[in-house]
Point group: C3
């Protein structure tokens, strides 16, 4: 028996009116209650799916995806979320497109949006560009709607930018909520977001940045640890500090993986590139300086290789609370002796946490669907209740072909 009341009652206690008709760019632009509404709707949608009840908010409609970087997890999560709500994904593959040299973002945004309900964008490669691009798209379609060009305003979902990766970190947080038995239980838990060695270079900063900004918001004691030189974006550090202050928890930056791991409830060891190097790379690309890019890459690999000891080994794990902190990763991980000679994590550690890691990833489709649901349902509690009471089956597996029985 499904009972959606457990979720709608929680929603009744929260204030999230601003989310209807809104976009999702950065977690720190949302109030704590708005974030909790996303977690709650994600759980409610998973509950409906477990009970084989259709969650289609749309009878037809398009969701446009634009991936400016390769992606498996996020691409499938977005496709799954949209399908769950009744939207068909249409990929804007810039290679197949006739986007003219000099064509404005405003023009492209309108041309793809005549029947678009959602636009999901991944654009994480260049500092100062990805998030700005998303905002320009969102602004353009609002203008198009105001001008009578579009019949509806597509909701923009940030599928990873240069600053934040909200669908990833919200999924990470929902995983923690379930592991610790409630959002209130995150308060006071220690989370170590640490750099880790990787033989590849130039990994985006959006995950560590997003994690420190979100987890301090949820009242966790967060440590950011990395070798000197691997600093993240300054404005996100400010956000984390300010959150810690507001929430009465702590945010600490240090240069020792050991110290960060010590007594941690949760560890998130992951490689990333220095912010300043990414800034420089953005500039080099802008100038078309490919010799400079090659030189930068060699320098970054050499710099990484000085910190091979930043690996999440069994010894490291023993430093954590009762030696059994929860290990997180956004996947794919660089596993020593498996995907590379030496990497972010020892094979035995990774193997031990494989099932929780997969569960962590499994929340992403529901988080994306919840972000869309809250932007598209004027009264989400009533929408969820009606989905449940209409009883339309997602999959007519049982004994009868009728959707309603």
């Amino acid at each position: 028996m499904s009972n959606i009341r457990q979720f709608t009652d929680r929603l009744d206690a929260l204030s999230f009116d601003r989310m209807y008709g809104g976009d999702f760019f950065l977690t720190w632009e949302k109030s704590p209650q708005e974030l909790e509404a996303v977690f709650t709707v994600a759980d409610a949608l998973r509950h409906l799916r477990e009970h084989n009840i259709s969650s289609r908010l749309f009878d037809s409609g398009l969701a446009v995806s634009l991936f400016r970087d390769n992606s498996t997890r996020t691409r499938f999560s977005f496709a799954s979320a949209c399908n769950l709500l009744g939207l068909e994904v249409q990929d804007l593959d810039e290679g197949k497109s006739q986007i003219a040299h000099g064509e404005t973002v405003r023009e492209t945004a309108n041309m793809i949006s005549f029947m678009a309900d959602v636009i999901g964008i991944r654009d994480d490669m260049y500092i100062g560009k990805g998030n700005a691009y998303m905002r320009e798209v969102a602004h353009s379609v609002r203008q198009g709607y105001a001008d009578g060009v579009l019949e509806q305003i597509p909701t923009l979902v940030n599928l990873q930018c240069d600053i934040d990766h909200p669908t990833q970190t919200m999924a990470d947080a929902l995983h923690l909520i379930h592991e610790f038995g409630g959002i209130e239980n995150l308060r006071g838990k220690k989370l170590a977001m640490t750099w880790a060695y990787s033989p590849s270079y130039g990994k985006p900063l959006s995950v560590p940045q997003g994690v420190i900004a979100l987890m301090t918001r949820l009242g966790m004691d967060v440590t950011l640890a990395h070798p000197p030189g691997y600093e993240v974006m300054d404005e996100v550090l400010q956000v984390a500090r300010s959150n810690a202050h507001e929430q009465g928890c702590s945010f600490t930056v240090m240069n020792s993986m050991q110290d960060a791991f010590r007594d941690a409830d949760v560890v998130y060891p992951k490689s990333w590139a220095p912010f300043t190097a990414m800034e420089k790379r953005t500039e080099l690309y802008g100038n078309g300086d490919f010799t400079g890019i090659d030189a930068l890459e060699r320098q970054l690999l050499a710099q990484n290789s000085l910190h091979r000891d930043w690996e999440c080994t069994e010894d490291m794990m023993r430093l954590t609370k009762r030696g059994s902190a929860l290990y997180l990763h956004c996947l794919p991980a660089d596993i020593s002796g498996v995907s590379c000679a030496a990497g972010e994590v020892a094979a035995s550690v990774f193997d031990r946490y494989r099932t929780p890691l997969y569960k962590q990833a499994s929340y992403k489709p529901y988080i994306i669907a919840a972000m869309i649901f809250l932007a598209k349902a004027r009264n989400p509690q009533k929408a969820l209740s009606c989905l449940e009471s209409s009883g339309v089956k997602r999959w007519k597996k049982a004994d009868c072909a009728c959707y309603c029985q």
Copy 2:
């Protein structure tokens, strides 16, 4: 409150029986009443969408798209139209396909059509090829249906060929109908379809050809203007002349952009390649003569550069009726100082007409959907009425998750 009667009443006054089960290749193969039926159904479908009423004519079904040239606008318009009617687009990407050397069009057409309700094709690069290819596909699937291979005949929609671009020009015309307050108000209006300078070469002729053929059909006084040497296909000139004769309007060809713009109600300045050059290029490709193609390209660019004064400037616009003709373009435009040093249109002109240009483009999904609707609904009036009265919501945004309320 939706009131679909305004559209079904207009349809009742029109004769368009032949469209059920038919294809859409060229606008001049359709009667004026059939064209008006397309405009009317397009408006009706937009009306339903504005009133959040589902327009799904299909519970399931496939629409196959084949783009032999890059496309953003037409690709998204086709996807939007199909989704609106309940069809899922499956792209025939010839690069990923196993279409054997020498495999017949007839074979491929049947192999992709076992469950296809619609086939949309863009094939505009080679003179004498694109439209012929579409007809061969349409003929093949009719044969397949007659032979008991296919359960249904997919409707073929021309998404741009070497001769015509009907989904573009019909959208252009619907934009004019709305701007001038009715199809009857197009009669006697002056439209200047003129060549314009572009620093690129080899742009298709289907838009100017389609425009002169369609707008004369609708009773407009049409001028085609281009530098000597930029002649379009002779058979389309004949169509335009014959239309003008039948409709009691005028069709004039001249070599002066100024004279064409003078006193025009509508201007459509756009670059294209000389028909004879496109014919030659087709022949060179056929012979695999890449040296010849390179030489031809250099020659075409040189030829273009002799006519840099064919630009839609503010001075040019001042020549038009009250200095405020409606400016049309199929987009993307070559905007001087924006997308190129010197191009088809001055930035200030383009900027002033940005919103109407986007509206012009916004009709294309509805035009495509209307073409499909008329081919697939035996009694479109009844189908539209039933969609309205069944009241299935496209988007359950309001207060309830029920599709019908």
Copy 3:
């Protein structure tokens, strides 16, 4: 009037309980009654489509496709089957994916399956790899379900592997069932699966292997004929011999096309590569030995060219039963004088059988849909009856827009 009873009555007489929740890897892993259930459900689904009744078993859901080789027929057949059942296809394009070097199959399989109901894979290039890969994917998602990572177990459908091509051969068999007027009429009919000359090399063995294994299962007298050196996989020969023994029919291997064609009711002349050469190629690829691969290719082409007389000519056809055996091919065929100078079949033979060949291909979408249906409907008879009695129209073409009337 639709009457689904003719199909559900036949299903009532069959035992196929194991298929619910199962995968489809190889035809010889299924019982004869299970195979007959697939044929029966395929016919039932075609019947529903002919009567314009929706076959959607799903209100929403994803089907993941992974094609490691180019494909038109199978790609469109899979898309058609999934759409027919209400599933949206999401392609796992490994080129666009972020599948890390060393990322396990287990990880990828889980990451794409959070909301996947079906996974279809084509992986036929390397001996010992394709089928093994599919099983690893299927095992991984079962593990993911057991671990609480996935909400459902996606059904794996083999869209062609190194061993078998079950969706092709089952479609071939359903074509024979219809041509001969019933599955019982296949018993005692002679089928010649023969090698044929092709100017290309390295064609997969899965079709000849799948055909000899399936058709012996259905009681046909099967001959496999090829030049010396073109042997197929030994374990499949064992399957065919064992089937023939069990079914009381015959299975013969010979080196003469003429002898195989003599008195045959059905001929299936088709090129393939020697099994040992494919094994060697797999090894060379594994070692990255591209010089070795080039040499092997030259050797295979030279070897092929010694057997240009293995062509399905009119003279060959005259050897068959009454000179009018049914000619089968999985398409595309190498047609002499059409797609190549000399190939598998004479143009006049191919042309004469064009319509039956297209019909043969037309069964594949229904076979795939039936495999999925039997894995997803706990009581297929009741599901089919309810689809019929609910009367939801697939296409509201008639007079009314209502899905149910």
